[in-house]
Structures are given as C-alpha cells and as structure tokens.
C-alpha cells in the first residue's frame, strides 16, 4: 500500500491557501444532498458537526454520552494555545509551528503543524464570539499564561475549566443546529462497526445504549472524533468511558493505525493511592508556572518536607534545565520524576511522588494571589488527598494522559479508507512523539471548525455514490456480527470481572510500555497480552442481557478491543529502536539520559495494517522530511 500524505505543493506558508483554492467545492444547493455522520461530540466532533451543518450538509451526530456536553473534552483544565502575540513577547505563527515540531521531537508532519498554527488564532476569535468567558485583564482584554515547551505566553484560559468552556461553546453551536433540524443527534449510541462498500465508507453500526438495540446509519462520509485511547492503561487521567473502540474497529476494516506507541505521560497528577483507585486526577500543567518541583537530595529522606532545609533539596528541573526550568515539556518532566524516584528519592508513603511546592510563590506574592490563580486546583487536591497544599507541598507523579498515536490520516484528515475522516485526539497527526500543553484543544477545534469543512467537500464533489439502503448485505452482515459479538460477551459466564481484566492489562502496559521501555520488557509484554486475551474470552463475567441497558457489557466491548490494541502498541514500541518524545527506549539515550533519536532510520510515521487478531500487523512507512525546522537534538537546557 502506498501512503500518500497529500501534502500540497508550495512553500509552507502557502500550502493551505493553495490547497483551499485547488480543492473542489460542493455547490451550496447540492450540499444538502450529502449526508455526513460525525461520531463523537467532544471539541473535534461538536465543532465539525456544527460547522458542516452550517454549510448545508445533512449531519448525523452521535455519542455514547447522554448529552454532547459530557464528552471528555469538558475536563481539560489548563488552556488553549494561539500565537496572537497579544503580549508582544515575540510570538508568531512561525514560533508556534517551530515549538510544536520541536516539542514533538521531529516526528510530526511539518505541513500539518504549520496549518494548525495558522488557523489557531481564528479559534480564539470564534470562541469569544460564541460567548466563551476567557480570563481577562483589568483593561478588558484577554489574558494569557505560559505552558511547557514554550518561552512565550500564548495560552488562553478560562480559570481551570478551559475545556469545559470551549466545549460548551461548540456544544451550543451544535445545539443550535439541532434545533434547526440540520443536525440529527442521537444520544447514548456507541459505534461498534464501520461499513465499507466497494472501498467507500458508507456508514456505521451503533448500539443504542438505552435499550441494547443495534442500529444502522447510512452516509456518504463518516467522521470519527472519538478521542484518545489512554485508558488502555486502565489508570489514566481520561474520563472513565474514553475508549478506542471506534478507531479500533475502523482499523480492523482497513484504516491504518499511526504511531500507536506514542503515549503522553503527564508529569503533574495526583499519585496513585491504592489498588481500588479508579482513575487519576490531573493537576493542571499551569501549576508549573509558579510551583517548584523538588525532591530531597538524600536517598530515603522521610522528614516532613517543611523541615527539609533549602540546601538539602534538589530542584532537579531547575538544576538540569536552567532555561526552561519547571516548564520543560511533559515527556522530559515525567522522565526526570521517574528517574529521581528510581534513585530512591521519591516522597510520600509509596516513594512514587515528587513535591510541587508553592511556598515561594506564596512568599513572593501572597496566599490570596495563589488562591485566585489556582484555587480550584488546590480545593480538588484537598478533596482527594485530605491535604492542604497551601501549607505542605503537593505530591505529584506522572500518569498516562494523552495518546499522540491514532488512525493515520493524510493532510485532508482522511484515513486510508476513502470517505473515512478522523479528527482530534483520535488521529495521529500534528503532535509527533510528544504533545505540548494546551495544543490538544487547539488541534481538536482546528480540525473541526477550520479544516474538515473544506477538505470533506473535495472528496464529496469528486466521488460517485450509489444509492443504498440498510438492507444492503454489508449493513445486515455487520449488524449481525455486532449482535453476535455482544451475545458472546454475556454468555461466557466466567469468574473475572471486566475491571479485573482491564487492570491486569493496564499493569502490563505500565510496567513494560510506560515511561521507560526496553526490548526485553516489550517482548515479555507481547507474550503476556495474548495469554490474557485468551483468558478474557474464556473467563469473563458479564451479567445481564445484551438487549437492555448494560454498562458492564459496554465496558467489556471496550476492553476486548484494548486486548488487541495493547499488542499493537507494544509491537510498535519494540520496532522503534530509538527514543523520541514520549517513547523512551532505555537502550537509546544520551549520556545525560535524554532521549536519543535515530533520524536516519526512524524519521517516519509507522502506519500499521491489521491482518487478523493475534497476527503481526504489516508496517507501512510515511517518511518525514524537515525542510523548515532543522532536526536537532531537543535541548531545553
């Protein structure tokens, strides 16, 4: 299979403009003849569904939540980037482009990243027009803060609830279209299969989670905006229901999967407390603007942190990376936290934590100042840990947070299956091997508001569509398969719960394919996962019926997919014999312990093709060329 990234010709600043001009348009009167399904209502899905309906397409939107507003995007705290340069601190489209390519450790497509930087300013304009209450200065203009991997202030925010406010903006645009009848919305529907007819995407099969019925939806194009798959690790900062099912089942229908092993482990999360833990809570990266990260210099120093004098503390990020200090990118911060804990200098009962200390910020400004900026995060920390972070430093530890990998898409965001598009965290594009803070919200909204409305028209205008109905054998077969698979899950009647299997799988991944990976461990994981998968299909217990509301069955289907995806993640990690961004292969590091890329051999996107469960997947390579940002070892010193 030849991977064609469809990067437009011309200098990078002109590519998107040239492309927009070159693409075919659908005549306004014809738009309503085309039917588009958008799966997912997070930032990417809601913005896409609303924008496409505004253009005149017939849109069907669905999600497994009760309401579009409950999508995982709602939980994003910190902010969204845009190079508005309102601060006059030297920001520009070019600088955001540069920071993102470098932050991604030179494993992203330059043309995509440039476009992202280009359209990001319009996102802020759009959101303000919708009534998103971004933080403002006393003069009434918008405020900004800094995030990791950048030396300028370009992050727009709405307290610690930026994702919520952006999503409510996109949700309101979507609800407006629903009220006009241009979008048909179906709540509590989970897509369980993709229907491809004669090589063209023609619809999906979904389960109505209210009553368990299986439904077919027909369209001329399908957009998946179904979010990331970090929950494959069981414990992550993702919402509990976030899952890989939509993209995984599309993968099984032929869409290639890009860079599955690129996982982001976020440095500032509340540490795991015990084995009943059901999820991990992120403490926003914005805290690193004013909090200082440290551990004791001495191994095994169990003193109360306030009793450890200044000279016996190691502010290891400030020491090792004087120019970025506590604001190094996430992969670097996480790896360093792991390293000091591995040395035995971790804090707290488990020794798997480092301090994030606000004492200096409180002394420099005041407690009230810290409270105004971060009050809700301190409250959240208190509620969970029962500790007061104004008085004692927070304890934090890295946790799985985001997946840079996802379905492979070309410049138009189309997968290798014609008519299937993927937006937001679900695709692999833009972030390379590591995502910078405040860039996921930007990407989701860029994809939905400003990219897909143009690129999908080109496909629709240049394709021919046969008239089909849901009686078509491809639909009825897919429906029957889905029904049988669900029936199978409830009829195993074994002894272990879905969560028990999920936890076991997550532990394998965390141990062997987490912050540090090596060939031996990965090989071990690749032996363990198929065994666990076999046991899953023999010993799973799912009570209830497949023909009624059954949350346990919903989880089972998702974990069944993780059992397959996990294997691909490890295979990808094993094949990539280099370290880059979030993928740290212990065998490949510099003398100072930094990630060591191998550009000669691995400057490509690994796009995997499914060959059957348990069968090795076929690797396709999209080679990456860097014409504008010179590939160099990342330095944040």
């Amino acid at each position: 299979m030849e991977l064609n990234s469809k990067i437009p010709e011309g200098p990078i600043e002109k590519k998107w403009d040239n492309h927009r001009f070159a693409m075919k348009l659908v005549n306004p009167a014809n738009k309503r003849k085309y039917h588009i399904i958008v799966v997912g209502t997070g930032l990417a899905g809601a913005s896409a569904a609303a924008s496409l309906a505004e253009l005149g397409y017939q849109v069907t939107s669905l999600c497994y939540h009760e309401s579009p507003r409950r999508a995982h995007s709602i939980a994003a705290q910190g902010g969204i980037n845009a190079p508005k340069n309102y601060k006059n601190d030297g920001d520009s489209v070019w600088r955001l482009f540069y920071d993102t390519v470098k932050g991604g450790d030179f494993r992203a497509r330059e043309a995509n990243v440039y476009r992202l930087a280009q359209v990001s300013g319009s996102i802020i304009d759009q959101c303000v027009a919708q009534g998103v209450p971004f933080a403002r200065e006393y003069g009434g203009l918008l405020d900004n803060r800094s995030f990791g991997g950048a030396q300028v202030s370009r992050t727009f925010y709405a307290r610690g609830q930026t994702g919520q406010q952006l999503l409510l903006g996109a949700y309101s645009a979507l609800e407006r279209q629903i009220s006009k009848g241009t979008v048909k919305f179906y709540d509590r529907r989970e897509m369980l299969d993709l229907v491809v007819i004669d090589g063209q995407t023609r619809g999906i099969i979904a389960r109505n989670l209210r009553d368990g019925s299986i439904e077919a939806y027909i369209a001329d194009a399908v957009i998946l905006a179904t979010g990331g798959y970090g929950n494959v690790f069981y414990l992550s900062t993702n919402a509990k229901a976030s899952n890989a099912t939509a993209i995984w089942r599309a993968h099984k229908r032929g869409a290639l999967f890009g860079n599955p092993c690129y996982t982001q482990i976020h440095p500032t999360c509340i540490p795991v407390a015990s084995d009943y833990q059901s999820k991990l809570t992120l403490m926003s990266e914005s805290l690193r603007n004013d909090g200082r990260i440290w551990v004791p210099k001495k191994v095994g120093d169990k003193r109360n942190p306030r009793e450890i004098p200044e000279e016996e503390r190691d502010y290891y990020l400030e020491r090792r990376y004087p120019s970025f200090g506590n604001l190094v990118p996430r992969d670097v911060a996480s790896r360093n936290a792991k390293a000091v804990c591995d040395e035995g200098r971790g804090v707290g009962e488990t020794g798997l934590a480092v301090y994030l200390d606000f004492a200096d910020a409180i002394k420099r400004n005041s407690k009230a100042w810290v409270e105004e900026k971060y009050g809700n995060l301190f409250d959240m920390y208190h509620e969970i840990t029962n500790e007061n972070a104004y008085e004692t430093p927070m304890r934090i530890f890295p946790a799985v947070h985001y997946t840079m990998g996802g379905l492979w898409v070309d410049y138009n965001l189309m997968t290798t299956i014609p008519g299937l598009y993927v937006l937001g965290e679900a695709n692999f594009s833009d972030h390379g091997a590591n995502r910078l803070g405040a860039s996921a919200l930007m990407q989701g909204l860029a994809d939905g508001y400003f990219v897909i409305p143009y690129t999908i028209g080109d496909y629709l205008a240049s394709s021919k569509f046969q008239q089909i109905t849901s009686d078509h054998p491809s639909f009825s077969d897919a429906k029957r398969d889905v029904e049988q698979a669900n029936e199978k899950l409830v009829s195993i009647r074994g002894n272990k719960t879905v969560d028990e299997f999920h936890k076991e799988l997550g532990k394998i991944l965390w141990d062997y394919c987490g912050m540090g990976r090596n060939a031996d461990g990965l090989k071990k994981a690749l032996e363990m996962i198929p065994k666990l998968r076999d046991e899953f299909w023999k010993n799973l217990r799912v009570p209830g019926s497949s023909k009624s509301m059954n949350p346990e069955l919903e989880k089972a289907g998702r974990v069944a997919d993780y059992m397959e995806l996990a294997e691909l993640i490890c295979a990808d990690a094993l094949h990539r014999e280099e370290s880059c961004g979030g993928h740290f292969r212990e065998e490949y590091q510099t003398e100072e312990g930094e990630a060591k890329r191998n550009d000669e051999k691995f400057s490509y996107v690994a796009a995997w093709q499914f060959n059957g469960v348990g069968q090795p997947e076929t690797l396709h390579k999209e080679s990456l060329t860097f014409e504008y940002v010179k590939q160099a070892q990342r330095s944040y010193k």
């Binding site: 995982h72 319009s122 009434g140 406010q165």
Partner: protein, 246 residues
C-alpha cells in the same frame, strides 16, 4: 469500614422500582464514593447479579454525568462537590446510606440511578447560544469586556448541567440551570442581540418539559456542586420582565 447501602433498583423506564439493601464491606475512608460503588458492583458481578447502574465519566466533578440522591441530598452531604468528588471519609462505620436517582418528571429513570436529562439539552436548543456561524467573526480582542463582568459570566458558565438543582427542588424547577445560561450570555456583549428571544424561548421550553416553577426555597443553591448562586435567578427574572416589556 463496613456500611449498608439501600439502593433504588429499577430494571428500565417502564418497570416499577424498589429499594434493595447491600452490604459494603472493607471500605477505606480514602475511597471516593463511586469507588465504593465500584467495589459493591464487583461483588455483585461475581455473584452473577446485575451491578447497580449509575452515570459517571470524568470522576472529577466537571462532566455533570454523575448524580444521585444520597441520604436525601443530591450529591450527598458535602457542599460544592459532585457525587464523584465525595469521599468515604465523610461517612462512618455502620452507616446506612440510601441511594436514589434524581426524582423529577422531566428526568425519567432509565435504570437504577440513571436518569434521562436530555430535557436540559432541549432547553439549550431553545436559545442557549449566540447565533454565530463558524468563520467571519471579529478579532477576539475587538470588544473589551470588564474583568468583573467576565468573571461573573464565568461564575454562571461553571454550571455542569448535572440536574442536582432540579432534584433538590420540591417543585422540580430548573430555574437555576436556566438562569446560569441566560445570565452568562446576558452579561456578555456577544449575547446581547438575542437577549429577548433567548430568555422567552428557554423559559417556554422549560415549562414544556414539565419542570416546575420557582418558589424561592433556595434548595437548589444549597445543593449545586458548582455553588451557582440564586442571584442568577434574579437576573433571569429581570431579563424575562424586560423581554415582556419591550
């Protein structure tokens, strides 16, 4: 610690429901309330019984999915938190905890503790937005908004749409929820153009969905996990009056 749960079980919307009692043993005070329910559900699944169905997702108080009446109080005894942010340290050994779904005509029970709150979405559809299409909007810094106003709009916008206000109200009124949206958009210049229709349509839809009227009992404010104050209801009333008078 060991506690007893007294839980509303209802197989589906059409069936009758009833309370059932379950022991929850070996519960740690550092567990979240939902983790305690996870533990009970694991026990039920192992016995081959259907677990207690409840909505949840983010487990950090922002998605608005979770919500149950705990010992008569929506989201439980603590102020300013959603059910998922409640920790077992607020209960004690030997407690019996009664769990019920939100009770309101406009929120039919789908199963056990899961209710259907799509009536809230339909209220938003009636006018909870600014009518702007994608593209063609002015630069974000074109219209300065005084910080105080922006902050107040943000206070209102913090609503997570959980429905606790409705569950807390003896009239099942949705006034706090509706006022939060009306207020947010009334405070911002972007919302000004559609002010009149917005408030009229949203209130009309609220009535149509079967939510009750507001008699100022303030129960909503007391149970709101985001501490949305009832002053927004006062603003909503002013907006409504203004719309009627102009």
């Amino acid at each position: 610690m060991n506690i007893t749960l007294n839980v509303w079980r209802q197989p589906d919307q059409k069936s009758q429901g009833q309370f059932q009692s379950y022991p929850a043993t070996g519960i740690s005070p550092d567990m979240s309330f939902l983790e305690m329910l996870d533990a009970v559900n694991t026990m039920l699944v192992k016995k081959g019984e259907e677990p207690i169905a409840f909505d949840h997702d983010c487990r950090e108080g922002i998605c608005g999915s979770c919500g149950m009446v705990i010992n008569g109080r929506p989201h439980g005894p603590e102020r300013g938190v959603a059910t998922c942010q409640l920790y077992m340290r607020h209960f004690k050994e030997g407690d019996t905890i009664t769990l019920e779904p939100w009770r309101a005509n406009a929120f039919p029970v789908l199963k056990d503790l899961v209710v259907d709150r799509t009536s809230f979405d339909r209220i938003i559809q009636a006018g909870g937005y600014v009518s702007v299409d994608t593209g063609g909007v002015p630069d974000a810094n074109c219209i300065p908004i005084p910080k105080v106003k922006a902050e107040e709009a943000m206070d209102a916008a913090a609503c997570i749409g959980c429905g606790a206000c409705v569950a807390a109200c003896k009239n099942s009124s949705a006034m706090l929820f509706v006022s939060a949206k009306v207020s947010q958009l009334a405070l911002l210049p972007q919302g000004d153009a559609e002010r009149k229709q917005r408030v009229e349509r949203m209130i009309a839809q609220m009535d149509k969905e079967g939510f009750g009227g507001c008699t100022n009992t303030l129960a909503c404010e007391a149970e709101c996990p985001k501490k949305i104050p009832v002053t927004h209801i006062a603003r909503l009333n002013r907006e409504f009056l203004r719309a009627k008078l102009t």
